[in-house]
Every structure is written in structure tokens, then in C-alpha cells.
């Protein structure tokens, strides 16, 4: 880092008073820019490929996953498809797993399984090796999902960890952890909660939060946000 990043406890005040506030480029940014320029100059990839992938990456998020769950709750035939041929079912909520390259994304592969919760089994997903996650369907994983804290503990102390998310699973329900450590990607299909009789697909989709599809929360009428909302801010956030 540049000089004003020294981690001496004493120089914080010193910096503020003496140094001008300069928004200096970070080592991370310099390296990414340098590599991208060299790759394009050498024809390793084209600026057009980079643009196409950026467009793809900027639009992914949990909306298609929520729509898929809501649709499955309302349509038993679609639910059957979602459980037996999830990649095909995803097309109906606007997700083509072969996008954006014709081979799919590079890191998410082309093998999806939807884990259906039942009155006797509750599923939770994790990748103890890093951050495997169904990006095309749910967007990027949250920071905590990638953290050693979650990865170390959820496989070994699942019920205490779920309790930290405010979720207590009764002892007569099996907690089944799905460690997605290879090419399969997983998403949880929770049980449709009571109090949603007569709801439309859009209404239902609103309560299927990202956390519900990871398995650290259950859908509940009136709850449309994730459990943990405290956010580490970015210095220069996407699109700023």
C-alpha cells in the first residue's frame, strides 16, 4: 500500500493533519488494470468478450431463484421439472446456464441440483473449500458465506450456527448440510409457509430471500430481507 496505509497505531492522527486526502489507486486496482490491458493487447481475450461477460455479471442476482421457488410452489408440474431437470426449469425463469459463453460461466459449471425441504428434512448449503455457489441463479455469494467462520463451523455445528441466524430447527427435523465442493451447484427450495394462501407468484417470490435459498432462513409472510444486513462498505464500489 502507499505510505498512508502504514499500520502504526500512532500515525492515524498524524496523517489526517499533515497529509492531503488523496484517493490513491490501490495495488489491487493497479494489478487488475495492468493484466487487463496486457491481455487485450496480446489478444488473449477481446475487449468485446470482456464487455459481454461484464454485462452478464452485472445482472445476476437472487431474483430468478426466488421466482423459481414461487413458481414451483404454485405449479406441481413445474416443481417436478425443477427437481428432476433443474437446468431446464431455469430457462423458464430466464436463466440459461450456458450463458454467457455458450459453455456456461467458467466457475459455476453446468450441474445444478435443487434441494427440496420437507417436514422432516431441512437443507443448508456451504462450500467448505471456498465459495462454490449457484451464481447464475442467485448472484454472488454473500461475504459471510465465503468466510472461514461459516465454512469451518456450519459443517460441524450446524444447529448452533443456524441459531446465530435466528433459525431454530426442531430435533425431529433432520438438518442436512450440502457441502458443494465439486462441480454440482445447489439451491434450497424451502417449504411454502402458512399464511400465503391465495398469493400470486410475485407475492410469493418476495418472501423467498437469498438466505432462504441458502438455508439459513425460512420464508415468512412479511419478511423480505436477508437476516444479516450489516455491510462492510467498499472504497470504490461497483459502478461508482
Amino acid at each position: 500500500m502507499s505510505e498512508h496505509h502504514h499500520d502504526h497505531d500512532h500515525d492515524h492522527d498524524h496523517e489526517k493533519t499533515v497529509k492531503p486526502m488523496v484517493d490513491e489507486i490501490t495495488e489491487f486496482e493497479v494489478l487488475e488494470i495492468a493484466l487487463r490491458e496486457l491481455c487485450i493487447e496480446k489478444g488473449i481475450f477481446t475487449a468485446e468478450q470482456h464487455r459481454i461477460y461484464t454485462e452478464f455479471a452485472e445482472q445476476i442476482g437472487p431474483t430468478p431463484g426466488a421466482k423459481l421457488v414461487a413458481k414451483a410452489w404454485l405449479d406441481p408440474e413445474f416443481k417436478k421439472l425443477a427437481l428432476t431437470d433443474p437446468i431446464e426449469a431455469c430457462l423458464q425463469v430466464g436463466v440459461d446456464w450456458l450463458n454467457p459463453t455458450g459453455s456456461g460461466t467458467i466457475s459455476d459449471f453446468h450441474a445444478l441440483q435443487i434441494l427440496e425441504d420437507s417436514p422432516t428434512v431441512h437443507h443448508v448449503i456451504v462450500c467448505c473449500l471456498c465459495s462454490c455457489y449457484p451464481r447464475p441463479l442467485l448472484g454472488n455469494s454473500p461475504e459471510w458465506y465465503r468466510s472461514p467462520n461459516y465454512r469451518r463451523r456450519i459443517v460441524r455445528w450446524p444447529r448452533p450456527v443456524l441459531a446465530e441466524f435466528g433459525l431454530e430447527i426442531p430435533d425431529n427435523v433432520e438438518v442436512r448440510i450440502e457441502d458443494s465442493n465439486q462441480k454440482h451447484r445447489f439451491m434450497v427450495m424451502p417449504i411454502r409457509p402458512e399464511g400465503t394462501e391465495g398469493w400470486s407468484e410475485d407475492q410469493l417470490a418476495e418472501i423467498v430471500t437469498r438466505d432462504c435459498m441458502i438455508g439459513v432462513a425460512l420464508p415468512k409472510p412479511g419478511v423480505t430481507t436477508n437476516v444479516k444486513t450489516k455491510t462492510i462498505p467498499a472504497i470504490r464500489p461497483v459502478g461508482s
Binding site: 502504514h6 488523496v22 490513491e24 489491487f28 486496482e29 493497479v30 494489478l31 487488475e32 488494470i33 495492468a34 493484466l35 487487463r36 490491458e37 491481455c39 493487447e41 489478444g43 488473449i44 481475450f45 477481446t46 475487449a47 468478450q49 470482456h50 461484464t54 455479471a57 450456458l98 455458450g102 459453455s103 456456461g104 460461466t105 467458467i106 466457475s107 459449471f109 453446468h110 450441474a111 473449500l129 471456498c130 461475504e143 465465503r146 467462520n149 465454512r151 469451518r152 459443517v155 460441524r156 430435533d171 433432520e174 438438518v175 442436512r176 448440510i177 450440502e178 457441502d179 458443494s180 465442493n181 465439486q182 454440482h184 450489516k230 462498505p233 467498499a234 470504490r236 464500489p237 461497483v238
Partner: protein, 279 residues
Amino acid sequence: MTTASHREQKLALISRLKASYPELPEWTSGDMISSDRFWAYMKCPQDQGGQLSAAEPFLEKEEEQWELMTYILCEVLGWGGVWVSEERRRIADVEIGLSVYFGLPYYFRWLWAATKTLVEKEYISWGELTDRLVEVQDRYAGGLNGQLPKAQPKFEGDGSNVKRNRWVADSLGKGDPGMYSGQAGPAKYNVGDRVKVRDLPALLYTRTPEYVRGAEGVISRVSYESPAPEDEAWGREGDRPEWFYIVRFKQVDLWDSYHGPESDSLQTEIPERWLQASA
């Protein structure tokens, strides 16, 4: 500017970064290293499951522009046939070493893996990289003035002679692992079979978590055919695919100290080479 005093400060900071057992000297001889310690040092840092950890708050994070751009860079390098994603995982999540694994941000590991692979596979030289780092740093010497930094390639190169792997063409329209379908022969295990995970001396790389090695479980799904990640991680081509299985374990079989209900379970996916039949 680097002065003698600044150099000393930098070295003092570096001296405090430790990556070894505190009870052992920094520079050991073989007689100090038990087998368990040897494998602790050799363990892939990526495999975090089951390690001891205190509860900490679960946080969201706003994404930095460079983080999104890094993700895209790595994916587009795959699209360009420079690597398969398992090579990135080997470099970013294992070869990076424990101190950087924990010490620097998640996406820096991706960025470092891209850098290393581009140099190691001779797409760019160390000199070209270093000159460009200096150039970009100088371009923004006066600060960013509220703007995001921009890539400014001098021209678009002709990529026709760039060396590319077979993955791009072979996976087109099929995806991965669909591209390997029908190549592994019959699957050795069926759903319901009891299996034991082998405890192999996994040097360099593996995706079979430590916490299931030696444990018994039941085949819950015959997944797909694919080369094993331990081979894919090196960008090898032409290895025979093998069957992968989702294996279900009872938590009480995985952990001596599991206090939850007997019915709690864990599933994970394992290639055939790591499994053996169990009575």
C-alpha cells in the same frame, strides 16, 4: 520515496508475519515434525471445514469495482482457453499459502492466480508485467479524483496465435461436466451402497475435505463423469473421466463430539478414486 528508515520499518513489519507453529522454532529439522504436523503443513488452506473457530458476526460486503473486474478477468481467461477453473482454484486457494489466504481480500487471491498463470504459462513476461504496473501506477500518481481507474489498452491484439486449451471448444453447447458424458464406463457404485472415503496421502491438491477422510457413508446420488479435480488442477488434457458421487454421512459418524440429533446428516461430492466399498 524509500529511505533507510523506511526500509527498516518495512522489514520490521514483515518480520512480525508468522506462518508456523509458535511452539516450534522457525527453522525445523525432520526429528521435530510428527506425521500429523507434516500433514497439517501440507494441508490445502482452502479446506476449512470442521476447523475450530469462535463465533463471529456474519457480514455482508459491498463489492469493490476491482473485485468485480477481477472476477470477470478470471472468467474471461477461462473463456479464452488460458485455464480451466480448477487451475485457478489450485493457485488462488492453495498455492497462495496460508498467510495470504487469510491476510488479503478474497478477490486478491483470484487476481494473484491470474497473474501467476499468465506469467507461468508464458503469456506475459515478468518484465512486461512489471513495466505495466509502473505505468499504471504513474498514470494515477495524482490520485483518482473521484473516478474509477480505467484500463487503456494501446491496441487490440490479434489472438490467432495465442495458445488455448481444448476446454473452450469441447464444452461449447454442452457445458462442463456434460462434455465428459459417456466417457467413464460403468459407475462402480449405486445409490444406497455403503462406501468408505479413502485416507489418501493427498499432496499438492485435493477437493476431498479432510473431515470425511476415513468416514463411512451411503451413496445418495451418482452425479456425473469428469476428470478428478486433482488432475484438472494442472490443466492436463486427455485424462479419463471418472464417476462422481454425492455421499451422505451421518453427523454422529463424522464428529466424535456431535451433540445434535442422530438423524442430522451431511452430503458432499466425491470422485470414485477416493471411495472404497464398505460392508
